[in-house]
Each structure stands twice: as C-alpha cells, then as structure tokens.
Subunit: 153 residues, 4 copies
C-alpha cells in the first residue's frame, strides 16, 4: 500500500467501478462500496428479512459476506488482481432486521504475494458486530487492463 | 454428541424442521438441509447468477454461508440452543455458476459450553472447494420447548 | 476493560506479579512482561540459539508463545481468571537469532465470558513479524484471592 | 502429496533427518519426529516443568509449538521447502506436567504453492488436547539439494 502514490486514489476508484459492475452477489445483497482507497474499503449493507435466521438475527454468513466484500475491494484497490486464501471471523454482537452494517477493511501487511487485511463490522451507532481477518493471494493479473482504466482515461 | 442415545435422531430431525421454518436466509439462498443427526449436518446449495462475483466464481461469502449453515444445524441438533462464536475458512478451489455445493459438518469436540465443528464444502464430483472450522457456544435455552418436539409427539 | 476504574492499574500489576511467579514457561524462554494494564500487556523475548530452526529463523511456535504470553497477561489483568480458547497467527516476516521481539496485546472486545485480543509481534526496529488474534474464556475464579491483592494491601 | 510415488518415503525420511539436525528449537524442547511420510508427520513431546504456567498446565504456546513442528515436517516431507504462512489452534483440554503429547499432522490440500494441514494434539490415552490447522507456502527451493539426498544415495 502506498497511499501517497500519484494516481493511486483514482485507480482505486476505477477498480471499484469495474469490480462492482461484475459483482452480482454484492448487488443482490444490497451491498454498496461507499469508500475506497489504496489498501482500504468501506462497505454497507442493511439487514433484510431474507438475511435473518431462526434467532431473528442476521445470518452469520451474510455478516461474513459483507466483511469479505470490503476485504476484496481493499485488496484489489491497487489493481493487482488478488483473491482470498482464507479468513477468520469472530462474532461479537448480533445484528438484527433493519440494522445497517458498515464494514471497514484496512491492509495490515502486504509482503510478496500475500496480504493480511482486518475488517471491523459495526452498526451505525458504532456497536461492533464482528471482527474479520482475511489473507489474500496476488495473482499475476491486473483487475483493469492497462490503458483502459478510468483513472487514465 | 451421543449418536447412540435413544431419540437423538428424531430429536435432531425435529430441531432441523423448526430451525428451517424460521431460517429465511437459508431459504432465500436455496440452501437445503439434506441430512442431520447428533453433531452432524449436510447442506446443499446451487451456485446461482446472483451469487457470483467479478471473477465469475461463487462469492466466498456465500460459500462461507453454506458452510456456516451446516455448522449451525449440526451444533443445534441435540436441542441445546447454540450460537457461532467464530469460524475460520480456507478457500481451496473456486466454485462456478451452476455448480452444486455440498457442505458436510461434523462435531470434533464439545466440552463445557464450547464446541468445535469441521465443515468440508465440495462439489458433487468431490472436488473440495473450502475447509471451514467453527467454534460454537451453548446458551442455556433449548431450540424446541419440552413437550413440543416432533420427536416426542 | 475499564482503564479508568480506580485501582485497576495496581490490580493489573499485582496479577502480573502473581502469574509470573508461577509461569515457568515464560521464565525459561526469557520472556518478560514489561508493561501491563487493564486489557493490555507488552512482553519481550530475545531469539536465542535454542529457539531457531533449520532455516536459521525463530521457530514459529516460539513467536506464537511470546504472543500467547502477552495475550494471557492482558486477558487476566482485571483479575478474572481467563483461559485461551484458541488463537490464530499470521507470520509476516522472519525473526532471526539475536533479534529482540516485542509482543503488544490489546483487548478488542469482552462480552459475557468471551474476549477477543489482538497481539502484534514486532522487532525493536518496528518490523512486524506476526499478527495474532486470541479468543479468551472467563472462568469463575479470580487470579488473586480477595484481600491478598497488592492493589488492596 | 503422492503417497505412491516410488522413493517418496525414503525421501521424506531423508528430509526429516536433515531438518532435524538443524532444528535447535525442537531438540531443546525434547520434541521427536517419530513418524514421517509424504504429507504426514507425527511428533512427540513430554510436558516438562519448564513448560508449565501458573495454572500448572502446559503453556498453550508450547502445545502450539509441538503442533507447528509436526506441520513443518509434514509440509516439507516431499522436499519442496515450505514455510508456515499462518495457523489457527483451538485448545480443548489442558495438558499437565508429565503428560506425553502426540501431534499428528496430515495434508488436507495442496494446490499451487499453498497447502492446508490439520494437526491433532492428543495425550497417550487419546484425550484430544488441541486441534490445529496450518496454511503453508511453498518456496522455490528444495530442503535437500539434488544428489545429496539420503533417498538417492
């Protein structure tokens, strides 16, 4: 992550745009990517009726999905196509129908092809719902082909 | 887990029925619980268009959700209401649009109020897609109130 | 964690003193607990010849042990006897013979009997060697019996 | 892992011999590698006085170290030098002074440069003490240089 590199911010925004256009899962769940930057992303999701389980709380899998989405946008933001190797999540407090959840992902480390990202999922009032730590693996591809980036257009 | 306890199997089936009736998230994702027993559950999900991401592969969050569902049914099957404390997932191979995924959860340990469950997510041809390990925490409640269990009816 | 509670800091120091007196493993490895407070601990260990492996780097298990020690002191600092349920570690950079490692543990969450603690292990020059996240479980005991705490003396 | 490859077993044994000769940490802790094969290793450690903590139980870090050792021997057994990226451990039952612990590591997956290994740590009576899952990353080196392997001598 090099937050200061010229062009890094518009490149991150162009990557988000291109990823989101193809991200059927995020759109179907109403996940939005409300902020992005090099090594950083913040996503938002409202807990809907079709996301709750028998305890009337948000299914842990969907809380994970929101965190995983923020992780994916953060680790691809520098336009090196990167996939999740794995992740760990700790559930701290339940989220309920109607709650709006915000997942903030930050790069903790990126060395060689491997990165570590921490994501906090919280309600709008700041209550922490879950902590997530993902490990990424960089492929040899770019997300956006050279010369086609919105950042360079 | 006591697979041999008389009534354990019909109780597990009654718990599944009652949990599934309230499990909006599983139903919305087309997840079915095709087998259950004490400390065991097997769930199934077909990868739909609204589950794929920019790489045309199943969103990792939804693979996690399937595994988490199998974990939840397995750890509640003995009618002690149990929640997920946390989980770890390793992604091994991508799942694609149209693949049918099968998640098999098995109890590895249950000591005091804490349990460990392993879940393997595989395609129908046996290709392993992900390995998941969840940690559960037992509440003091039952899933089905005494006297109302299908097992006891 | 309530950093502001009167007596919390001397209580944490008394807990450290009593735990350390019985902590044969930490002493054998030359681990010291150089700072403690409510929900916080910092430990130090020099990498010795008997800690390195075939790659001439500190055995990952001993890096983990240092992090786990910081976690243990942090999660017991409020004098509620607390044990590790589990932990996850990501190895980021190797530590070598002669390096001095510093593990800083901080409470991220404590709800009911379960806590989440993050530990960063770094060299003296700030290079991050590993990130660790531990989950704790509170027993019903105290570390120091009432009336015998240095904090209350 | 290809258990059937001719020469795989003697190669695994030669790798173990060479790794162990340089493994100061394992030797200092009295860890032995009592069985090895392609994708498999079993290590043993007796809990000594200098391994216990304030609860008179084996320090979790040393239980982890034993598991991590078994993981390391298992993932290097095919003579592709492989390092730990990270690991997760769940502590299930305490080990006490004098207990002999046995860690059995098995490869669950190896795809590209990344592997997943499960390790069970148990007492001699079969009581499970901990479950460990490690993620490995293959470097481009060999453990034993070609032509110098005991397997090929």
């Amino acid at each position: 992550m090099n937050a200061a590199a010229p062009g890094a911010q518009p490149l991150a925004e162009a990557v988000r745009e291109q990823m989101y256009a193809r991200d059927h899962a995020a759109r179907a769940l109403g996940i939005t990517v409300e902020a992005i930057g090099p090594g950083f992303a913040r996503c938002r999701m409202a807990v809907r009726q079709d996301m709750v389980n028998g305890h009337a709380t948000c299914h842990g899998g969907l809380t994970f999905t929101l965190a995983d989405a923020a992780f994916a946008y953060a680790c691809n933001a520098c336009n090196r196509a990167t996939v999740a190797q794995g992740a760990q999540i700790s559930f701290i407090a339940p989220a309920r129908l109607g709650d709006v959840l915000i997942a903030s992902a930050r790069e903790q480390s990126r060395a060689g092809r491997i990165g570590i990202y921490d994501v906090e999922v919280a309600k709008e009032d700041g209550t922490v719902v879950a902590l997530f730590r993902g490990t990424s693996y960089e492929t040899r591809d770019a997300v956006i082909a050279a010369g086609r980036s919105g950042a360079e257009a």
